[in-house]
Amino acid sequence: MRIRTVAALTGALALSLVSGCAQGAGTGASANTVTYWLWDANQLPAYQACAKGFEKQNPGLKVKLTQLGWDDYWTKLTAGFIAGTQPDVFTDHIQKFGQFADLKVLEPLDDLGIKDADYQPGLAANWMGQDGHRYGAPKDWDTVALFYNRKMANDAGLTAGQLNDLAWNPKDGGTFEKAIAHLTIDNKGRRGDEPGFDKNNVKVYGLATNGGGDGDGQTQWSTFTASAGWSYTDKKRWGTDYQYDSDTFQSVIKWYFGLAKKGYLAPFTDYNSQSNQANTQVAAGKAAAAFDGAWMVSSYDGFKGLDIATAVTPVGPTGKRATMMNGLADSVTKNAHNKQGAKKWVTYLASNECQKTVGSYGIVFPATPDGTKAAVAAYKKKGIDVSAFTEPVADKKNFTTFSYPITNYAADVYALMHPAMQDVYGNGKPVSSLDETNDQINLILDQ
């Protein structure tokens, strides 16, 4: 009798555990709920406003927003794909697109009627898979520019006009290197271009470090490699041959990391992806300037007691300035619990109406031209000049914009390039060592 009771209790407990799991799998999904994930906490209020507009237009449908930090976001999304607890719609990054396409976890969005012409150039086209189907609806975009500490620049006698008119080359670094050297100060107060400068005891670096830059160098070296005429792969999208073995690429990398050897760029050892990114170095007064993305505008603006301004990227050997233009998108998951609702929500997210709402919060540049205009106006209201980020998109004569590399096996490329670039930057390994890494990458792509 007693044994039976125990057995029954154990069974009941086991059952309740199992059914508990099953309930957890739903994560609040139902026929009238659409689940949506994003990683940027700053953008949450803007999308909450969009969700309200959407719910008004679609009575009976509710949007459930979840915000997770960048690292947790991808881990949880991956786990969600495996366990079937993925959201219906999520904010997608081009870096992950190739892998998700490989894994076939995205729903084609061809029937949403997304037109290239409705968005800033290139944004819609990037989300076409190799199979000719669309997997993302353009959401927003960002570019990279030079953030600098205005007081430090003034003390160095550098005007905004001068900082917006810099040029560089891989031989002597041009006026860009001169400016960075002049912004650098050692612990005895000597500037980087003055006699007796002690490169081993630098108090303020001219340029902050954002690490080795992995395979894309978005906020590190990409502005230089692109304005020298180099591209990541043989084709604009879905290339099959990476070009890290090119002489142009390697000469630029050698010059760029060489700035650290001269004491102008903060050394690799000062960088930590958790505790000390470029913006922290600027905030702490350890660096005078940093290349960083438009998504960081509010962060730099919020540094207490610091007056931060922005300048466009320098002119390169091609005679043009270059900046990476990266666009996010909204994607629907293949096993979405509410696919119809999800597609409706993505259509709304990609609409001018929602993008103008998001733009009015002044935290990000939405993908539609009207959305972008709304954002520029909102930034202006806050007293922030964002022209260093918008000019490259408007002025095709003087600027080149380029995208993140879009290829298969992006995770493998990262796994190989991440340590390889650290080796060059941190351990002084010759740039020619990238030949071998490039061979390994192309071997994987040839599979």
Binding site: R2, T75, D270, Q274, A284, A415, P419, D423
Partner: protein, 321 residues
């Protein structure tokens, strides 16, 4: 728990081996007399057995199977024979990460065991204060991730308070976690800091089992503390020390969280320990087949080390008697 059962009651005139042998025999006899108890026992064992099969045995077997496949978790596994193992043997990063892991284990276990032993002996010979024992254990109450992040901030080359102090006394800043040569020792010592108290308490428990009259007798004979340590403490603590070593070595080989939050395997793979490499292959690159093959290799390495350690240290036998 393991410690308590492996150190026999001190007053037994015979060696623990015989003591251990006699005990189960009486138990088994008891079980035979009453079949009802056997059934009840089965019911009580069932949940643990279920847990063992579901969470340990089945995953292990499935992991071994997956190591012979190409598998990305979302599409069916495809049998590839020994391909993953061939790749592993030819993968320089795998061997590199194994070397890095061994380097970590040697520093981590070496420093931790010596310090823990010193703390345990001091706790036993100098004081009986429960407060001190509590303080020694404090770092262990913190999660590995939190400990890692706190140390990351303290040791940051540019902004960390540790490096501010180093710079203030006029020395060069040390890139503890950002330099090839410093990174592994630093991570090893962060984990020593966190685990040494716990290890010391395990050893302290072992020391409690050594009869006090042995020390009294030795003192009467005029032995010094140093001599008593080597002649009484060490030999009698050996079985406990051996079990603690086996447990900590296994744990040490599986280091992951501290690496994940402090260096992310860098700089340039200098701290790419095996568990981290396996995790990256599986959850970063979706190569679950290859990751399983490396996990099987780790299982084999750990089993071999455990058997060797067990034999060398005669962990199952006591010298007390």
């Amino acid at each position: 728990m393991t410690i308590a059962s492996s150190s026999p009651p001190s007053r037994l005139p015979v060696g623990s081996v015989e003591g251990a042998r006699t005990k189960p025999r009486t138990k088994r006899a008891g079980a035979g007399e009453n079949r009802g108890d056997g059934r009840l026992a089965a019911v009580f064992i069932a949940p643990a057995l279920l847990g063992f099969v579901v969470f340990l045995l089945w995953p292990t077997l499935r992991g071994i199977y997956l190591s012979f496949t190409r598998y990305n978790l979302l599409t069916p596994a495809e049998w590839v024979g020994l391909d993953n193992y061939t790749r592993m043997v030819q993968d320089p990063i795998f061997w590199d990460s194994l070397t890095v892991t061994v380097e970590y284990v040697i520093i981590n276990i070496g420093v931790q065991t010596v310090s823990a032993l010193a703390i345990a002996v001091l706790l036993q010979r100098l004081t009986q204060s429960a407060l001190l024992r509590g303080i020694v254990l404090t770092p262990y109450l913190m999660s590995n991730v939190v400990a890692g992040i706190v140390w990351l901030w303290i040791l940051d080359t540019q902004l960390g308070i540790g490096n501010e102090i180093i710079a203030a006394v006029g020395a060069d800043r040390i890139p503890f976690l950002a330099d090839e040569t410093w990174a592994i020792p630093t991570i090893a010592l962060i984990n020593v800091w966190r685990h040494v108290g716990y290890t010391a308490l395990l050893l302290f428990a072992g020391l409690q089992a050594i009869p006090g009259d042995m020390y009294e007798a030795a003192r009467v004979d005029g032995a010094s503390e140093w001599r008593m340590f080597w002649r009484i403490t060490m030999p009698l603590l050996r079985p406990v020390l051996a079990v603690v070593l086996i447990m900590t070595v296994i744990g040490s080989f599986q280091v992951f969280d501290t690496v994940a939050v402090t260096t992310g395997g860098g700089p340039a793979n200098a701290t790419n320990v095996l568990q981290f490499y396996i995790y990256g292959a599986a959850f970063g690159r979706f190569q679950f087949g290859y990751a399983s093959a490396m996990s099987v290799a780790l299982l084999v390495v750990l089993s071999a080390i455990t058997v060797i350690q067990y034999r060398l240290t005669r962990a199952g036998q006591s010298d007390l008697g």
